[in-house]
């Protein structure tokens, strides 16, 4: 799967590229509006990650161009602007998602996965990880073909874990993904422990391997090794 990252901040661009490549994407990265435009006109991408504030032009115009070309790529806008208006403009232009900087790389990765899956009209949308199978449309989960009853949050957790498999995920990143930014107003992130414990137990009870590993004091890692 091919992803194009258009971001002018070199350090952030590198981070995104490295993380996405680690997760199995073929990732190209450019730094400005012109090369971004060139790339989207020449090649087909499964997903384009674009910053709004770019040298030589606005990222929003790249979104317009993609829509004009009727490209089948998914689009995620990343911007330091958190205002609702920018978000709405971006989404109205046809962007699939909008992430405000700073964000967790695992979050960006999970969203790219979700978008590509949604746009994969022909093929199967199911997510497989060894014996575990997720059907995103019905949010059904099965282990070796046997259904597992998960709550909505547990399902989201599992999907997020599989998208970011083998990576260390901090509690903050997990909490933000599942409960949004506002969980911080309510509690510290210790409460996610309960949900992860339940998910782990349900999967093991259904006969799956124990893939959720605790990284002491930090977070969790979903891995088969």
């Amino acid at each position: 799967m091919k992803v194009l990252v258009i971001e002018d901040e070199p350090a952030l661009r590198d981070s995104i590229q490295t993380y996405l490549e680690q997760q199995g994407f073929v990732c190209e990265a450019v730094a400005d509006f012109r090369s971004g435009m060139e790339k989207v006109r020449q090649y087909q991408y499964d997903c384009v990650v674009v910053d709004i504030g770019l040298p030589f032009g606005s990222g929003l115009n790249i979104v317009r161009e993609l829509k004009f070309m009727e490209a089948r790529s998914g689009i995620i806008i990343i911007s330091a602007k958190a205002s609702l208006e920018d978000k709405l403009t971006g989404l109205e232009l046809g962007s699939d998602d909008y992430l405000t900087k700073p964000f967790h790389l695992s979050e960006l990765n999970a969203r790219i996965h979700a978008i590509i899956r949604r746009r994969n009209f022909g093929g199967s949308k199911a997510i497989n990880f060894h014996e575990i199978r997720l059907e995103p449309e019905s949010q059904a989960v099965s282990v070796d073909g046997k259904g597992v009853e998960l709550t909505e949050k547990e399902y989201q957790l599992l999907e997020y874990f599989i998208a970011n498999q083998r990576r260390v995920l901090t509690k903050a990143a997990i909490a933000t993904h599942i409960w949004g930014d506002e969980y911080e107003q309510v509690s510290n992130y210790d409460f996610i422990y309960t949900h992860i414990k339940n998910l782990r137990k349900k999967l093991i009870d259904a006969g799956s391997g124990d893939y959720i590993k605790t990284v002491y004091g930090t977070g969790y890692r979903f891995t088969d090794s």
């Binding site: 993380y19 903050a172 509690s187």
Partner: protein
């Protein structure tokens, strides 16, 4: 004391000696005139009496006349050349009152015999004149005073009107709404000058205020990108297989601190944006609906903590506010009610048409009023992450939308209520 009253009083104070001098001059003039006339009368009377004496003493007899006002008797004295006229004082016969007289004394020789002639005329009318002049002066003074007061009132109503308008504008002025205020030209040069100075002053204040706000906003905004870089680098570093547990923990702690910093920054950015009025309300927002949304969102956390939520939605509380800010209001208030609650505690949300209240149980002491909405004030040692900006944001949103936040504590229950001041319909 009003400026005009003051100037009038000074003016009147200056008028008193002026009127006194005027009165004195008037009296002096009249008195002289009267004296002259009386003197002429006295002289002509004397001439008649001399003429009469000459005929009466034609036979060589002596003549003596004694009446209150005329004395004529022979004396052994040398005749004087001119009559001597003076002002004397004597008692009036009927009531013994001291009265001034104009008196003529003359020794004339009639047929060789010197006669003393004394004729006097009462000057009672002259004291009446003094009284009259005093009265007139007083009346003039009073009239002047009354007219001054009347004019004072009329002038103050008309001429000072622009001044009062200016004053009213200054009184109701708000820092954030300064550009909407303009002090107009007036018919009075001084007020026009004042208004022009006020205009340039408010413009200066507002532009300073704006550039300060913009600075805050830009600073917070510019910080987001480096924060994003640092955050992403730490996240990548965390994936390094060669790291041991202590290293991973160190990175995670740094990442958490960075996370906190970024949250803090976002809250400051939000505050700056609210203050810059970047969130414009377009339609009334139902607080009941938003509360339900957040109760759903926080459902697991509420359950985890074993909290009991009681909702009493008697009516709906609609406010004119940007939906994003309404979310922020509810998530902050409800979030606090959950965060600072104890396990198994209670939360009560009650909504009426006039009031939106969230109450929760907590072991924390009551919040000091002066600390309540202070930025970066956090509640004691709760172990909960907090930016210390939540209530400051609530307060700021409320203030910008004509809402009032009231806090109270009864027993273990802390209660925050939002009420509308008349403008937020």
């Amino acid at each position: 004391m009003k400026l005009l009253t003051r100037t009038t009083l000074y003016f009147l104070a200056a008028m008193v000696p002026l009127l006194a001098v005027g009165g004195y001059l008037l009296f002096y003039q009249f008195s002289n005139e009267i004296n002259k006339r009386v003197d002429r009368e006295l002289v002509s009377e004397e001439v008649q009496w001399i003429r009469y004496l000459q005929t009466a003493t034609a036979g060589g007899s002596r003549f003596i006349l004694r009446s209150p006002d005329i004395l004529i008797y022979p004396v052994v004295d040398n005749p004087t050349l001119y009559p001597q006229i003076t002002t004397t004082f004597d008692k009036r016969e009927n009531d013994n009152q001291q009265v001034s007289f104009r008196q003529l004394r003359h020794v004339v020789s009639v047929r060789g015999v010197p006669y003393q002639i004394i004729i006097r005329k009462s000057q009672e009318q002259k004291s009446a004149l003094v009284a009259n002049v005093t009265w007139i002066m007083l009346i003039v003074f009073m009239g002047l005073f009354a007219v001054m007061m009347l004019f004072n009132w009329l002038i103050s109503r008309k001429v000072w009107q622009p001044f009062r308008e200016t004053l009213q504008k200054i009184r109701t002025m708000e820092l954030g709404k300064m550009p909407a205020v303009h002090f107009d030209r007036t018919a009075t040069e001084e007020f026009t000058e004042l208004n022009a100075s006020l205009n340039s002053m408010t413009q200066k204040i507002y532009s300073d205020y704006r550039s300060m706000k913009e600075f805050t906003e830009n600073a917070a905004h510019e910080m987001q990108t480096p924060l994003a870089v640092a955050q992403s680098k730490l996240e990548l570093l965390l994936q390094d297989e060669s790291l041991g547990e202590p290293q991973i923990q160190t990175i995670a702690q740094a990442s958490m601190a960075l996370n906190r910093l970024s949250k803090l920054n976002q809250s400051l950015l939000l505050l700056a944006r609210i203050e810059n009025n970047q969130y414009v309300a377009r339609e009334p927002v139902s607080m009941a609906e938003i509360t339900r949304k957040y109760l759903r969102l926080f459902e697991e956390i509420i359950q985890d903590k074993g909290l009991h939520v009681h909702t009493e939605f008697w009516d709906n509380f609609f406010i004119w506010v940007h939906p994003f800010l309404a979310d922020s209001l509810v998530s902050n208030l409800l979030g606090n009610a959950i965060k600072y609650n104890y396990a198994g505690g209670e939360i009560q949300v009650s909504i009426t048409e006039k009031e939106y209240c969230i109450a929760n149980t907590s072991r924390l002491p009551a919040i000091e009023p002066e600390q309540l909405f202070k930025r970066f004030h956090t509640a004691g040692d709760t172990g909960e992450p907090s930016t210390g900006l939540g209530l400051a944001i609530v307060k700021r949103i409320a203030e910008n939308h004509h809402l009032q936040v009231v806090y109270g504590k009864e027993g273990e229950t802390h209660r925050f209520c939002l009420t509308k001041t008349q403008d937020n319909v």
